[in-house]
């Protein structure tokens, strides 16, 4: 029953009283508890509180209350989003026992809808990674092949949706952390425009790049969730006054799709390339205009990202000091010993690596050559996108260079792992929205994702084209 269930369908079943919220929650809990043994998608499943929440929704419905669309629908949260009173570890030993003292703004919005919180999803430590192999609590396995990664850093969220452990999930995306696991697991993932979704209550990784977004089974579901979680929040000063409006009268014949040769360059798997090219051809046959465009600074994106992101990390992770929360080592003499020992014991390798790299890039004597130069390169990359929007509505390419790789395949070489994000990173640097959706499988049966990018605040174009693609593939 859960196999083809979407937010849209489940919401209709609940509204028509064909199923109760409690029955739905129990069905998902049963699957989640059973499948998690093998997948390790969830760090915790809130069985008891989820049933309690579901009963409340059923009670309201019985007395004839008119409820929001998402009422009674189960969600799984990435473990860096705060839900009051629950552990939020961010996949790190340093926050293993940390309980959220408040709820994120997105959580408050979902609570008002009556969403059922089913569990918290595994992730790379502090969202640093592309495979969840950097989680302090074990790797998440890909539901399509247990010897392969689910992607990352929102790997637990993507695997949970793909394995029918929940109807939908939330993730966070700093350089591809929603879209890449969505592509690897065969689900839909949205990285919204920077500033449309409040980051209040999301643990900061790289604040100028981070955004919360949904992972769902369909594009229409992603649209529904985005509509609910977006909007200005006075608790996040980078959030922007914005109200989502769906696109009316969308017609493929009026749309221009941009193809960037660099997205099909060296390092791209042949089967992934063929699948995405086939999709482009079909869109062209269906009436869309296909335009080749240039992005001359695309090749600098990853280098730019690997300076800006660690710099912001080195600053943001300074708060984990063993004084106010989290793991604390107090063997030393003074407060400085507490800082150094707690951070050494609590952080994993990738977090340490990025803290050191970022501190180096920001330190006196290197700031201009590294951080400042990266910020300038960032403007050039953002300008490439601006130039693109004068010619096309959407840029289309593959989400990832390959399908899901084997567990352990990329762990020995950090640089190799960083190349995973090559197509997704430019989007975060420019702050534009992007959607990954499944468009096929390779010969091994592993999902392939297509990556749609649009101008700031035009998520509606992504959803409209995404829905068309779902129809024609």
């Amino acid at each position: 029953m859960l196999k083809n269930l979407t937010i849209k369908k489940a919401s209709a079943l609940l509204k028509n009283k064909q199923i109760s919220a409690l029955e739905l929650a129990r069905a998902y809990l049963e699957v989640a508890l059973a499948k998690n043994q093998k997948l390790n998608a969830c760090l915790e499943i809130f069985a008891r509180s989820a049933e309690k929440q579901a009963r409340k929704i059923d009670d309201l419905r019985v007395v004839g209350e008119s409820l929001p669309d998402l009422a009674g629908l189960p969600i799984i949260l990435k473990d860096n989003i705060l839900l009051y009173g629950q552990i939020a570890s961010a996949g790190s030993k340093i926050l293993k026992n940390f309980r959220a003292p408040y709820s994120a703004t997105v959580i408050k919005k979902l609570k008002r809808q009556g969403v059922i919180f089913l569990g918290r999803a595994n992730m790379d430590e502090f969202a640093m990674g592309s495979s969840t192999e950097n989680s302090a609590f074990g790797v998440t396995k890909n539901p399509h092949d247990l010897t392969r990664v689910a992607g990352g850093s929102s790997g637990g969220s993507a695997a949970a949706v793909a394995a029918d452990m929940t109807v939908f999930a939330l993730g966070s995306d700093t350089g591809g952390s929603i879209r890449q696991p969505a592509a690897f697991c065969g689900v839909v993932g949205l990285k919204p425009t920077y500033g449309t979704v409040s980051r209040y209550g999301l643990m900061a990784m790289a604040s100028s790049l981070d955004q919360i977004g949904p992972l769902t089974k369909t594009v229409a579901d992603a649209e529904m969730v985005f509509q609910v979680i977006s909007g200005q929040d006075r608790l996040d000063s980078t959030s922007i006054a914005y109200e989502y409006k769906p696109l009316r009268n969308f017609n493929l014949k009026n749309i221009k799709i941009g193809i960037v040769p660099e997205y099909f360059g060296q390092g791209l798997d042949a089967e992934v390339a063929a699948t995405v090219k086939k999709l482009i051809k079909r869109l062209g046959q269906a009436g869309a205009e296909i335009v080749e465009i240039k992005m001359p600074h695309f090749k600098y994106s990853l280098a730019c990202y690997y300076l800006i992101m660690p710099s912001e990390i080195s600053s943001n992770l300074a708060r984990y000091d063993g004084i106010r929360f989290g793991l604390s080592r107090r063997r030393g003499q003074g407060v400085w010993d507490i800082f150094a020992a707690s951070r050494q014991a609590g952080f994993g390798d990738e977090a340490k690596r990025r803290i050191v790299l970022g501190t180096y890039a920001l330190s006196a004597g290197y700031y201009d050559a590294y951080y400042l130069q990266a910020q300038k390169a960032r403007r050039l990359i953002a300008q490439d996108f601006k130039d693109a929007w004068s010619k096309v509505d959407i840029v289309l390419g593959p989400t990832t260079p390959s399908t899901a790789f084997k567990i352990g395949e990329n762990t020995s070489d950090p640089l190799q792992m960083y190349l995973e994000d090559i197509y997704t990173v430019p989007v975060n640097l420019a702050g534009v929205p992007a959607l990954s959706l499944p468009v096929g499988r390779d010969k091994k049966g592993l999902p392939i994702g297509a990556h749609l990018v649009a101008n700031h605040f035009t998520e509606n174009k992504l959803f409209a084209l995404g829905k068309e693609i779902e129809k024609i593939i």
Binding site: T238, Y300, R324, A345, L372, K376, L415
Partner: protein, 96 residues
């Protein structure tokens, strides 16, 4: 190329304890990553303004006014403290 002394110095700046093994590992890995990002130097950016974030909003102000924390926040916040005395955070002496 980054040397061991620099790694040690940077780790100290970051208040991060590191073992001899860590230093050796980070020296190699950071050198490789810095080699990779080196290609940004070939960009001519003399006329380019730095970009700090995408929406480039500036000076979002709010009133400088304390908002009392809720009782449920206080309760959970205090529970998270690694060391406390009554309702205070406990730290070692900072000044002699």
């Amino acid at each position: 190329m980054i040397n061991k002394k620099t790694v040690k110095h940077i780790a100290r700046l970051a208040r991060l304890g590191v073992s001899a093994k860590d230093i050796e590992k980070f020296q190699k890995e950071l050198s490789a990553i810095l080699g990779f990002v080196e290609k940004l130097q070939e960009l001519d950016t003399t006329e380019t303004e730095p970009m700090a974030q995408a929406t480039e909003t500036i000076n979002v102000f709010r009133a400088d006014k304390a908002r009392p924390a809720s009782e449920r926040f206080r309760k959970q916040f205090l529970k998270n403290l690694p060391a406390k005395e009554k309702n205070y955070i406990k730290v070692p002496p900072i000044l002699e």
